[in-house]
Assembly symmetry: C2
Homo-oligomer: 364 residues x 2
């Protein structure tokens, strides 16, 4: 093959052009100091002239590593869905901010940490399976990757996790040889509940949970229940209400349901604690429409700390998940395991912190 004639230049072209062997070209790129300066310059010059760019694939294949870490996250928006032309930009933004829930923050955290360790980041949102499933695609191109809970079927993950480092984020470990990182759902909800009781003197509390199959939502409820017990209040065995989707719409719906019920039945609760921010924000809207003042007549709290919580009025009291940190720690675990594949699987629990804002009465 004559240098410069073919499509993209390779090490061979550069080597020929510079009058060295391909091994030397390779060295210049991998470990410049192992080559005499003069030789190195010749190679670099040739590479520049030819427009040579090393093939990541070839390097990866030969060296069995890619220099890339990965993330599989849930498909937060159907990319095929046509956006309704009727919603205003503002409204669309608000919705997006909410949807942006976790993923963006985690991506940012992982990107930063990856960069610090010299890795690039490959991201892909979950899609339905098949032999060419998402995970397989990601797994084949990275040195290790993180998976957000419930994005990938365990059976797809299992064979892959045997071959390269995988860390499970924000969920149960699923496979016992995985590293995994959780967030202190129990502690956070417990602290928030205690605050309502101790700082605001509330004692008729209604918890709105999610799908019983969601470990996060359940852990939060248990935190709530524990705080109730500790405060000498009746300890509920089940959330007062549940929604399965945990959306704003559902939050609004259950709130109206509760208000209707209270008019006839028992006294209305003094506070509603939601298993996530989205529902809580839906509730805020429902309460406003029904003329129930927040927080005077009803305190409202969420969980997650999504940006929208700071924009709504009243601003939402919540528990903030350290999502960026989750991403950063994920990378640290991956890097650690890459260096020492045999270390026993780690399990981290990241602390959370409550943000007391207007909807509980902490700010005007």
């Amino acid at each position: 093959m004559v240098a410069g004639v073919s499509g993209t230049p390779t090490v061979y072209d550069v080597a020929e052009h510079a009058g060295v062997s391909i091994a030397t070209v390779s060295r210049v790129y991998r470990n410049p100091d192992s080559v005499r300066a003069q030789t190195r310059d010749r190679v670099m010059e040739a590479a520049k002239q030819l427009g040579y760019v090393p093939s990541g694939n070839a390097r990866g294949l030969a060296s069995r590593s890619t220099g890339v870490l990965g993330l599989c996250f849930p498909d937060y928006a159907d990319p095929d869905a046509e956006e309704s032309a009727e919603e205003t930009e503002e409204a669309r933004d608000a919705g997006d901010e909410a949807a942006m829930l976790y993923s963006d923050q985690i991506i940012r955290g992982m990107e930063r940490a990856s960069r610090r360790h010299g890795y690039a980041l490959l991201i892909a949102a979950s899609l339905a399976g098949g032999p060419e499933s998402l995970v397989a695609k990601v797994a084949g191109r990275v040195d290790g990757f993180a998976v957000m809970a419930r994005t990938v079927p365990t059976e797809d993950l299992e064979p892959i996790a045997r071959r390269l480092p995988v860390v499970m984020l924000a969920g149960p470990r699923e496979l016992d040889h995985l590293d995994h990182i959780e967030v202190a759902n129990f502690d956070g909800q417990r602290e928030l509940t205690r605050h309502l009781v101790e700082a605001h003197g509330l004692h008729r509390l209604a918890y709105v949970g999610g799908d019983p199959a969601s470990p996060d939502a359940e852990a939060r409820f248990r935190g709530f229940a524990a705080a109730c017990r500790e405060a000498g209040l009746p300890e509920p065995a089940e959330p007062a209400l549940r929604t399965s989707l945990m959306t704003q719409a559902e939050g609004r719906r259950v709130t109206e349901e509760l208000l209707d019920r209270s008019e006839t039945d028992a006294p209305r609760p003094q506070a509603m604690l939601f298993a996530n921010d989205q529902m809580a924000i839906g509730a805020l809207r429902a309460l406003e429409r029904r003329g129930v003042r927040v927080p005077e007549e009803m305190a409202v709290t969420g969980f997650d700390g999504i940006p929208l919580g700071q924009i709504v009025r009243p601003t939402l009291t919540t528990v903030r998940q350290p999502m960026r940190r989750l991403g950063e720690e994920a990378v640290e675990l991956l890097v650690r395991r890459l260096r020492a594949p045999e270390v026993t699987p780690a399990s981290m629990m990241l602390p959370v912190r409550a943000a007391y804002r207007s909807s509980c009465g902490c700010r005007p």
Copy 2:
């Protein structure tokens, strides 16, 4: 090599296990229909048992394509910087929201569009050069990629752009064989300026620009100047003030400078138009501290539409850049060029829209 004995299973292992040739295994993954159902099932079964995952590197090398698109974006935060333990979480968040300026939105846009076309997305923030520069790393692992303006030296980009599709985002084309997408900076600033004049009757306007080397900032200024001329106001040849970093701190600084100057000199302007939101938000803080009411005594506008603009009080009037769309269009251009490498370079200009909020007097 005996199947199952070595580290990670390969096509050879699967083939042996299933009693077929490696070509057949390959076919099952690339084009299942070209293999008899019965054979296919045997292969799939073997693959599953062995925990076989195709190597993306090997596939890429053999097929000369990766199924991955890339993005190079500016390093929005130094990953090595220790976060000051003193700033509160709220403050840190606000800062982050601001910093999140473009990149996150573009990433989201690209991720969505990539997914729609069956690609994954590789992201990497810019880092200093060397033979192993960021671009080279990305370029070697993707089928095509987008570059945000001024993240990559033109000379690094040139050889790469000869070999694979590159689209330049939010900046001048730099290399004339690149596709590129810009945002209507001129139009947006012109519309916003006209609004201040026509809807609010303001006519003493001060424009705060950025680095003269920033094409965006300059185009915005020209839009401002054009609107002035069209309104019969004096047309400035230069911004009243400039900052080079365009940060909140700088916005605050120039605002105080202007207030100090006005006390002695000429009458104070009725409006300050900033070349970006960050500076405008800094200005809001400075004005508040100096007791200048916004918008009554001074209208303030930004440019970009960052989320923080909706959180600050008064909310910030601005021009919103369609960042997510930018990312989506970037992918469309890349995919198009991948399919037809010879089409002439495209140049898009995305429309923007002004968001009239409190800081110009449009909302209470």
